[in-house]
Subunit: 333 residues, 2 copies
Amino acid sequence: MTASPASLDVIAIGNAIVDVMAPATEAEVERLGLAKGGMTLIDTERAHALYEAMGPAREISGGSAANTLAGLAALGAKCAFIGQVADDQLGEVFAHDIRAGGIEFATPARGEDPATARCLIFVTPDGQRTMNTYLGASQYLPASALDEATIASASVLYLEGYLWDPEEPRRAMRRAIEAARGAGRQVAFTLSDGFVIARHGDDFRALIAQGQIDILFANEHELAALTGIEDFHAGIAQLAPKVPTLVVTRSENGAHAVSHGEHVSVPAEPVAQVVDTTGAGDLFAAGFLFGHVRGRSLAECLRLGAICAAEVIAHYGARPEADLAALVADKAG
Amino acid sequence: MTASPASLDVIAIGNAIVDVMAPATEAEVERLGLAKGGMTLIDTERAHALYEAMGPAREISGGSAANTLAGLAALGAKCAFIGQVADDQLGEVFAHDIRAGGIEFATPARGEDPATARCLIFVTPDGQRTMNTYLGASQYLPASALDEATIASASVLYLEGYLWDPEEPRRAMRRAIEAARGAGRQVAFTLSDGFVIARHGDDFRALIAQGQIDILFANEHELAALTGIEDFHAGIAQLAPKVPTLVVTRSENGAHAVSHGEHVSVPAEPVAQVVDTTGAGDLFAAGFLFGHVRGRSLAECLRLGAICAAEVIAHYGARPEADLAALVADKAG
């Protein structure tokens, strides 16, 4: 079918999270028993204990897909976000920040416990972030929060694998995929983290096999987890034929994409000092998707991804601080 | 009288505020009718309107005297804070951050409206901060929150002029001054802002005349407002004889202190790039007071103030990020 012209570039469904970030030493990360560099889901009790152990922090809106939209909107894309906050101060912070970034956000706040999601992030001197996520209200996103007409109006529906874990949002995302595909739109999906692949890899492989995913984002570890193949190129060779566009990021080793048989690699953009890697993958996806919805070449999409990722790891927080549109105009013409 | 040995270096009474900070253009500051570079008290309605107009923000604990303690504690001083938060998420954030900095904080959260204080800070490209403060719970600090034994146990009681404006905290601060002086301790006071001098200058002049203030902090504008004398040196000459130690900061022109007749000036510490001047005066006071409680010379106290102020204006937020103790050891021996 032929889709009608899209009025939105990207609509995303993701966790609505406020990041609580503090510097930490390697010794503290070890003493607290944290999985360095990874993301761990935590309950209320653990959230309190870890917050107690954390140094003076700052709060900055986060959430993987929301960060990607923040990047896309900063680049000039028209975006909307669907995600669940609670009716509390952190929920207000999240809603403010996403709307202030020029992103439509209409999901009503949830008026009961639990509180808005937060992610306690310990940032070690090497710039690595160790994330501990209290999902709170975020995991109660109901399918009823979806406005299918809005989903149908966006060129790309972007989904965050993290949110595949809780049941209600998973159901909502399945419905969203149907709505998007029914309207002739594309679906982009990020695998997010090894733990979701461990728990839901069968779902993801089925979605791919059924041709439900047009653009798949992964980092090299997630690629290995999904394919069961350790070797990077062998993993790419196995997965690429199954999905129209596959984008795999490799931190300081750049990124590789395969789209309809075309292979392109891009080196990482140089960064004077890696301050905090939180949001690197999210912003890579932002740059890539911006190029994609603007009809740029695969190489250009990758380059945009690399530029946006480099911006976000040069400072604290997973949302862009620099004028991304100007940065990209400067560096990628 | 001779005071018993102090178990705390500094106890401070101040506003318990979370800063909500966002970059803004000069045009936005003008369009919103903000008093650039100053501090304006705002009500709930204006707070909502300004927050609505603000870009994506980050939340970092603030409050003038609380920032000073954060600096003092980072330098190695033993400190306690008295201030009023509400029983809400921003109150938790404030309490967490101050305690995580190693500062005693025992004031119970207030279980009713209004919410915890916040300061909406618009930071222009020149690094100037324009502050709009919703005082919320902070202005309801009751005199009953004072633990006079704790006040009596600190070498210095540090008071924030901002908090002289609301009635309950003013009463609490008067009682705290009595408790400190009764125990043979010193009282340090910061004039905070022109508006409090306009409203309470007579109180401040009376406190000074009565010999209630041992160390007075002001910037050059506050000096002019308090003395009614525009000329800097003439203002110093008028005020200095009335207070044992007078410290006047002059932004990029450094600072000047007069203590028991001795005059010392210090240049501003060079900063590669001024990012956000929020907290400059607060951290100057931190460095100065640290030197003071450690028995350093007047020149050394000023130098410590300049180093701490330079650290805080080189990044977003009014609390130190670098290891201040190491910085000071490096720069000031």
